[in-house]
Symmetry: D2
Subunit: 403 residues, 4 copies
């Protein structure tokens, strides 16, 4: 047992920290101004930051294997954490932003040769963006068997009909490809009825209807969260990802890394919040003493530190398990970090906001926006309650087999 | 001891509930659409709703005494709760919306005859709106002695210099009058250095700079929350409210009713959330059963009901105390409801959001917006921590005198 | 709506507060010493306190109707609260201690004339004590249909077989009568299979086996919490309470008042805890300042006050409902106070303990013992979770009928 | 970074798990019976268990260096966790029980040659037991500068006067030696006024007055928690541990490992609680379904698992830090585990109790006793609040130096 990062990780951390200090933090204020003017696309300055990051060897760090930087999850985790300190800039600047990360990993793992050539390559180069269209407005989508969008084979084509929402990034015109989950069978085993198809944005019958808000935020610089209508949308059968009936399994495979990436970044968000909370508490005076000297504020700071240390270790161990025993073997831990991280980071952000007073809820600090992101992750990729139920059942099973 | 509402209250509750059913709830969807187009002003449909409410005798219900409906706090409380069920429409429709309510009460109590004639009358008629400019971006404003805006007498005028933010309603061009808190003395007893002056919006030197966001919301239909700069702003000395050095006392007097009104409406918001949570849980199926049958969801519903019942009783008792022993005598209870209500209602809203899944954080349900309002009230009008500190000291004093 | 106590209540409060100051608090230390020597019976000094209380007209205050003091629940509530400040002495001294209170009310309501004459009269006079034998070690007794003890009619007798535990008071040799819940039918409607019979302690086949501990406490002065075995125990058929199959309904009727009495006393326990917490915090110094000046301790004191005020109001309203619409009409509120009171008072006691340091968990302060009592009430008379489930279903039903 | 235990640890874990299965768990019931009869001493069966453990090479595992098993903290941690599953038997059976562990480490580190020969040797052999007398009833002892016991040099002797309580183990007649913290100077630097002396139990002037209770438990098998009076107690000057004025530093050094040992065992207690909770939930039926199928119970089980995984990792990392950068370098982490572990394990025990119903608070399951131990650790060795204050200050300092 050893709690020190390896040499590769330390070297990349150093390089990434320099990039943050030299390029990312100094860009934050201007990014906000540009974002306010950019509608559903990324601020123009992002392109320069991407070039800079790529030049520094900070590109596609999330992707294991031949197509990406080839890091293990355990090596990537502390880097994703650092990116999470400025989560609207650092991840896209390094081409490590959701949902593209998950989509690239999906294409690298399950995509056919031509799919990889046609869609993965430009994604790896940051030329296009992508969306993952799974959640539907009409059903409780946390139960994937509820998915109602139909994908019906008709000759050499699949015909898609349905309605999706919260397809993150899809409002962005540069978002060229949608991965759509739907039902190819109405019968058979419940988890073998779903399939995934690639649907280019410009396919007839695709209508990007509107951007969903998240606590008042549109997340426009990120491409928003779109509601999309699919009406008699036709794609050739070679647009199927993997095999027919494999949609559920692919979704599960995609969500494992996706969840841990979110959690890594959340920890960086929490560290940012603690820093802001401390600085503000030191800078303000109320009722005759520094806010930092208030016992209750000290209590929050201490609790925040204790929570973050625990979360980071659990995320790192989960990454190590994914590397050593595989995503399936790390299933319980992935659920555990998905339960613990968003809600604890939400708590920390709430306290940082409170220390900032009215400023904390406003656009003058990143805290309220980060809070909305953390809160949303308590229900995105499956609400906490679904993960807890599943984790509990696994725990209970230990004692069923024993007796 | 008797827990039944009196006849006047019951009659008004009935009338108000009818107004909600017949006019307010049916208007909610269109209100959103209009609000999205109305910038910093109220949607046009509000005028009709106001006329309707006034015609039904539902006007200025909040204001005790000769200028308003003459209800006691105990009588108004259950009405404010009902309004809180649709808090963006019902309060302004009945001319019972903050900050105008507090400003009207302030003018009715402390304003001179001409001030009442010039500003109170059009406010009572809903012709203009008003803002209360107290919080400052540069200092911890929860400690009123930190207020830095200067109000210096120069002959027959006061000269005002300073910067305020979160002046709710002030982005609205119809917001004609600002009540500004500042320092008229740099020496003397700490709580006698502040004064309040009336500053008409169009006075030279007044610059309404920008609207502050609250978790991504601009609250434009409400007139937003403005940052305002005062540079060598001059008003005649008769624009002083009350006496020089009386600002702190007036602010305290204003905040008592203001806080209880917020709490009353929050309870209505919580009831709305419980209703939405139940309806959604009954309407959705996941993992083979109704969401309403999930034990954890039932737990949330039960907790929500238990919390709301307790909050309502504490608010009602506080109203009764304000009526019977005065705002000062109800000081501890006012602090208690200010502490308990926003955070408990925030909790309920969070659970209602979770039951709604992704929809819960979006613009398709009122929950995320209500949540932002409840969260903000944990720091508006003084953060919880300040109230708790004060309440604890009062409790401790009981035992100091005994020993 | 009126939040003031009526004249009768105020007069009795005054009289009871004097009794507490003059007789109960001064007796506490000696009571502990005697209790340590008294095994399973009350300390000898209790008899004198009972005589004193009775002489002051403070006797059987809990019992409405002709047999008791004739107070309403609303009038009794604040008196029970006061008793709860010294819960091991004041309730038995005034013959208002559980489980005798519930048993007396049960006999007064459902007992036959001879049952009342034989058992109620000596209970009203404090000559004997009684036990309620419902919970069983072998089944989840929160679901009354699980009760397995059999009561089989055989000619003019009922034959009882089964095992009960946590029969409070039953270790005391002066506990002369057990009210035993069992099954008289194995078929028919689920809630009509249970009956209650009176079983005198000295009936052959009754074995009081041992006292159950509660977090290390035996509660010997209270008669402990007994495990009792019933083997072919025979009682005449006139020992049936009410009718055959009426056991469940009687249990429900008994538990309503029982639960509210517990909650009233818990509030008194909480007030005692707040007083002790404040006094200790004022008396100790750590790290250069009074513990009472620590922000976190002030936070606890404030939260405690806010919680107690809310709980008291909810309990009082519930009492008022029981008086005005009956126990059934107050069902939701009875559940609400049963959920909220033990856990909130437990929280307050926990904080009072923490302020006392090591002393807090010891026998030198009443806090740890009170804590154990509050904790146990989270599962006695049905665990919180059962009440929450039931309360949630009732809430959900509102929306089922509407739609 | 590597999360796997090393070979030594794995081998010892295996051996210890066998000892638990073969000797400890089977002895638990009889241990309770013997403990009930053993007053302030360990049950007689403990001697056999000690012989067995020693024979299996499971002895003094806690002690690094030449005198003990020579394990690192990181190697000992998972073993202490296993012992914590049966915390009243396994630690004393392996001579790894507090407070002897801390006292042995103290003597090994700071004791003179004769002190080690006279007291450490028999402790290592389990022939005697020892007590640590630090906490005083009259002062807030969490602030060590409050310690009032005086240690005055008089020629070749120290004269000790004072009163201590919660000296764990000291009621046991076999507890032969007390390590007493007191003040040797009334002036000079605040943390250089304290010293520690060894006081044999039979020294004239030592009076072991009474055993303090912990939530009704006497912990007699453990030697209880004594209040001890020191009146003109005289010991030769060679009974001083370390140097005069070194008491505070020694106490700090002692508390580091002591705290981590407690936390390791607490994690084992939590694992035991989860097992009991799952087994009970699977074994009982209420309202027509297994308790294990109740959503709320599943929620508790999941939360328990998530909490335990996080706690274990933080404890292990802290052990690793103590091994690699020393106790001082691990200061923040030691505080973090001291804050997080007792309260989270308390939470888990509370839920396990709730699932057990009335049985959970009784002597029939270990849960209530474990709960009392966990609760007490929230204030023993310094209350949480002191650790949080200190941890927060350290966090804040990061930003003081930066700016």
């Amino acid at each position: 047992m050893d709690f020190a990062y390896d040499g590769t990780t330390e070297e990349l951390r150093k390089r990434l920290l320099e990039f943050m200090d030299e390029c990312v933090y100094p860009a934050e204020e201007a990014f906000e101004w540009q974002a306010a003017e950019s509608g559903w696309t990324a601020p123009p300055m992002l392109a320069d930051l991407q070039a800079e990051a790529r030049g520094r060897g900070l590109w596609n760090l999330f992707l294991p294997g031949e197509y990406g930087a080839g890091l293990t999850n355990l090596q990537y985790a502390p880097l994703a954490e650092i990116m999470g300190r400025s989560p609207r800039i650092a991840p896209p600047a390094t081409n490590c932003a959701a949902p593209d990360t998950g989509n690239m990993e999906l294409l690298a793992t399950f995509g056919s040769a031509w799919q990889r050539d046609r869609w993965l390559r430009p994604l790896l180069d940051g030329e296009i963006r992508s969306a993952f269209a799974m959640t539907e407005p009409e059903v409780a989508s946390s139960d994937a068997t509820n998915i109602a969008t139909s994908i019906v084979r008709d000759g050499d084509e699949y015909v898609i009909n349905g309605r999706k929402w919260f397809a993150s990034g899809a409002m962005n015109p540069r978002c060229a490809i949608f991965i759509v989950m739907g039902k190819t069978a109405q019968e058979g085993p419940e988890h073998r009825r779903q399939s995934m198809v690639l649907v280019p944005r410009d396919t007839p019958g695709v209508t990007v209807e509107r951007g969903m808000h998240v606590f008042g935020y549109t997340d426009g610089d990120h491409g928003g969260h779109a509601e999309v209508r699919f009406e008699d949308v036709r794609v050739p059968v070679d647009h199927l990802v993997g095999e027919e009936g494999g949609g559920f399994a692919i979704a599960q495979a995609r969500l494992g890394p996706g969840r841990i990436h979110h959690c890594m970044r959340l920890i960086g968000m929490a560290e940012r919040a603690i820093e802001l909370m401390c600085r503000r508490a030191l800078a303000r005076v109320a009722f005759g003493k520094q806010v930092a000297q208030q016992g209750v504020v000290q209590d929050w700071i201490a609790e925040s530190r204790v929570k973050v240390e625990q979360l980071r270790l659990l995320v790192l161990k989960t990454a190590w398990l994914m590397d050593t025993v595989g995503n399936r073997g790390a299933h319980t831990e992935i659920q555990a970090i998905k339960i613990a991280t968003p809600r604890d980071v939400e708590w920390i952000l709430d306290k940082a906001i409170q220390v900032h007073g009215a400023g904390g809820v406003s656009q003058d600090f990143p805290l309220a926006g980060l809070w909305a992101a953390a809160r949303t992750l308590r229900l995105a990729d499956g609400p906490d309650e679904v993960h807890k139920r599943s984790l509990a059942r696994r725990e209970l099973k230990k004692y069923l087999t024993v007796e």
